[in-house]
Amino acid sequence: MQRQGWRRHQISIGIGVFAIVIFLLGWIEMARPLGFEFSDVTGGIVGFDTLIRVGLLTIVVVGLNMLMGHAGQISLGQAGFYAIGAYVSAIMTTRAASRGINVLFPGVIREEWWWWPWLMILAGMVVTGGIAYLIGRPVLRLKGHYLAMGTLGVGLIIFVLFREGGTFTGASDGVGSVPRLCIGSFEMWPRERYYFLVWAVALAVMWLSLNIVNSRVGRGLRAIEGSELAAQTMGVDIEKFKLQVFVLSTVYASIAGSLYAHYQTLVNPTPFGFVGSLDLVIMAALGGLASIWGAPFGVGIVYVIKEVLRARLQTLLRGAGGEHEIIIFGLLLVLIMIFMPQGLSYAAGKAFGWLRNLSRRERKNPIDRLTEKAT
């Protein structure tokens, strides 16, 4: 199948192009060509820090994309699973006297075990995936709005558990002094190094997901979204597939959570509440629900809008404060969804298709070819 072969290369080429862009942005920050750093390129509005955060949330949103865009199952509790990853990493690697591993295993974890935080990232994935599996079995039987409410409840419960976890989770102060990641004596810091780590993981997750989407499994997922009835009579075990993709999406969230913990070095409950989950869904929708490629752009545009508003709203509207930012942010979201209901990636794809059609207008419509063949 020529088309299938082309698609196979399309994924690798796309990831390659993406990697080059990521590398160039990182290089600008590191090498400072002509004395510029990254934030100068954007007029001082979007900082390098934002790029790292976009990378982190891209990992989560790619998972949501697969869950919502491909399998048609909504999750309004994804920030909860992001939190589990973050807290597992934070608690298990923090050496502060009164909490973390010192309480759980006093004196067992050695200072020179540089691989311990990495192992805890894996542990976070396993814990999150396990919890998602247990929760997913009953919750994924719900459909539509009920599933939205069910997952919303799950997210809130996880959030409240961390906030009310006493000294174990640090309550609303959270867990501080999370160590940086190291490989041997090579520290994943300064920021530029961490940037490359985060985006390497993000690109790997995108590559993995694109491969899954364009496979037997991905077709099964899309079949569930297309018609559950037909999917099951074609032999797709819809309960198993829904559960698998749900667990996968939460494992992605967990990886991102762990990387967030080691970046921020402080984990507290604030970013993991309902608004956190909602932001993730907004990012997925803006990027295009059915598009893995849309994920980084969906996350990116939310950050860019927020930061541009923060930096420029004062000059446009005298005396404007945080409330005004939220109002204008909401307004922009509504406008984007009205004019690009399928998200940025779909709009971009359509524009590209339109340009391509202009160049080969003489090609015949496939429907005409079909009817020609029949007669």
């Binding site: 199948m1 088309r3 299938q4 993995l208 997901s209 491969n211 899954i212 496979s215 037997r216 499994v217 991905g218 077709r219 099964g220 899309r222 079949a223 979204e225 297309g226 018609s227 009835l229 037909a230 999917a231 099951q232 009579t233 074609m234 032999g235 797709v236 075990d237 819809i238 698998q244 996968l248 059915a290 496939p366 429907i367 070819r369 079909l370 063949k373 029949a374």
Partner: protein
């Protein structure tokens, strides 16, 4: 009849329905329905609107649970099994209200039909392990053959939703055939088709039977059914009122009454 079949029942009969009953709340949709389908025949279920024809398909394919009664496919009881398990036994179907996957291309629709003919999972797919890639090529090749079988190969790359209505019906048949069924259930395949399309459908159903696939057909169009079916059962208000060859069924006074109403018979 029963006597001459004798001990060969299991070999000659692919599907046995016995005492099948289905109620929706207080409404009795099917009552004590029994029939057998023989291997390799074109069998048809007809009856006025609301007689329970589609319900039979939903019960056999496992989409709806039975209230009571037994369904045996190749001598194995299948009621209570999940739809994807039943599909795996070699029973496939199409839908009266089209259930084409609109979010996929024509080829991908048929590739979903190959789901159970392949096994590679999420890990193999994500990491592009060679085994999965090989299976994927096999899936695409076979799906393409099935598209060619129904004459849709030139539309393979199109979005399924952009196909004209009649072609979408054909696509559902190709998708069902891709599962390599032993028994294919077609739910009103002729509904909404024009005359040339119906003639093409007639030929297609015969070619499917010639491949050794047993066909069970629910249909409204009498001319179409009488021309193609070898045996027919007639349903009215959830009960079987007649069974036999097209000729026998057409002469049955109960069938005429069900289709035309009692009063008209008095008038004639």
């Amino acid at each position: 009849m029963q006597a001459d079949i004798g001990g060969d029942v299991a070999e000659n009969t692919i599907l046995e329905v016995e005492g099948l009953k289905k109620t929706f709340g207080g409404l009795l949709a099917l009552d004590d329905l029994s029939f057998d389908v023989k291997r390799g025949e074109i069998f048809s279920i007809i009856g006025p609107n609301g007689a329970g024809k589609t319900t039979i398909f939903n019960l056999i394919s496992g989409v709806l649970p039975t209230t009571s009664g037994e369904i045996r496919f190749q001598s194995k009881a299948i009621n209570g099994l999940k739809p994807h398990v039943i599909a795996g036994l070699g029973l496939s179907r199409t839908f009266q209200n089209l259930q084409v996957f609109n979010n996929m291309s024509v080829l991908e629709n048929v590739m979903v039909g190959r789901h159970l003919q392949s096994a590679y999972g999420m890990i193999s797919a994500g990491l592009r392990l060679p085994g999965g890639q090989r299976e994927e090529r096999e899936i695409a090749d076979r799906a393409m053959e099935h598209l060619a079988f129904v004459g849709l190969d030139s539309a393979a790359a199109m979005g399924a939703s952009s196909l004209p209505f009649g072609k979408q019906r054909t696509l559902e048949i190709a998708r069902a055939m891709a599962t390599e069924p032993k028994l294919l259930m077609l739910d009103e395949p002729g509904a909404g088709l024009n005359r040339p399309e119906k003639e093409a459908l007639d030929g297609l159903v015969r070619r499917i039977r010639d491949r050794g696939v047993t066909v069970v057909l629910v249909e409204h169009d009498m001319a179409f059914v009488m021309g193609i079916a070898e045996r027919i059962i007639v349903l009215d208000y959830g009960e079987k009122i007649a069974e036999g060859t097209p000729d026998e069924v057409q002469k049955d006074p109960k069938v005429i009454a069900a289709y035309l109403g009692d009063e008209e018979i008095h008038l004639i």
